[in-house]
Symmetry: C2
Subunit: 165 residues, 2 copies
């Protein structure tokens, strides 16, 4: 059995994003219920905004959107919600972009590998055992104990280089 997971593939140009969004929110609700945590209106709204599409979203863009609905939002409003969501594995930060993507696999905290299309901005997320094991093996050679892994691969997704010039 292959335990490698494609947590989130590149999405075809048109997919039912409403369903996609709904299932992410439902998963988050369930996760929080099971963990005895509160997915407050602000947190849920931020999560929805992160899930606007399959591209990394900027904190201040989330803030702008929050302000449209409700007046009293400031940077801490967003960053606190993002911190909560990150702690619960509902959102990941893409360090090389200072931006955030939703994750629909909150059950277990995991290390992810991100593939980011420079053209369309879409992100695919893997949780790949082979990669983890190889990094582990390499680290082991010089006695390094891994606590956290960041793997962010930039390039061109299939759609983009097939349709590209």
């Amino acid at each position: 059995m292959n335990k490698n997971k494609v947590i989130s593939p590149f999405k075809p140009a048109s997919h039912q994003h409403q369903k996609c969004l709904k299932s992410a929110i439902d998963a988050a609700k369930k996760h929080c219920e099971l963990s005895g945590l509160r997915l407050t209106p602000i947190r849920q709204r931020v999560l929805e905004l992160v899930w606007q599409n399959h591209e990394p979203v900027k904190a201040y863009d989330i803030l702008d959107n929050l302000k449209k609905g409700k007046s009293s939002s400031a940077p801490p409003t967003v960053y606190r919600a993002l911190d909560f969501l990150q702690d619960e594995g509902l959102v990941h930060k893409i360090e090389s972009l200072n931006a955030y993507v939703g994750c629909n696999n909150p059950k277990e905290l995991h290390n992810s590998q991100f593939f980011i299309c420079d053209d369309c901005g879409a992100v695919a997320e893997l949780d790949d055992v082979d990669i983890r094991e190889l990094l582990q093996k390499k680290a082991h050679r010089f006695g390094f104990r891994i606590a956290d892994e960041m793997v962010e691969i930039k390039g061109q997704c299939k759609e983009c280089h097939e349709s590209g010039v």
Copy 2:
């Protein structure tokens, strides 16, 4: 023949850092000469400051140090020098820390994998073919063309967990 390289290992507590620094600067000089590029005083000074030690250095710390020597330095002074040095592979940015480390292997541009000790801050840099090939293989499966790879692994280096509490 194993083409995997340890570009920069974790340094033992005491090593001859002056030599280390000098050889990095010499390599940079040579590289620029061969490429017909100018390692101007500012660029060299910034490179020296990046090489202060084997920890990632912050842009504004470099700026503070620059100011000590010479009055007229502003953020662009540092960022321009860092851009130049990054383009030449003399410096890498650690995205997850917003900080910069020196690289003594400018000859060929390469992808690097960084192992960063959370305790002592030291960074080791690999240019590991196995990792590159595995990422390549994984990407290939869904038609992704890799342009750039960021691999930043956080944890505890051998020294630190052996001497640790």
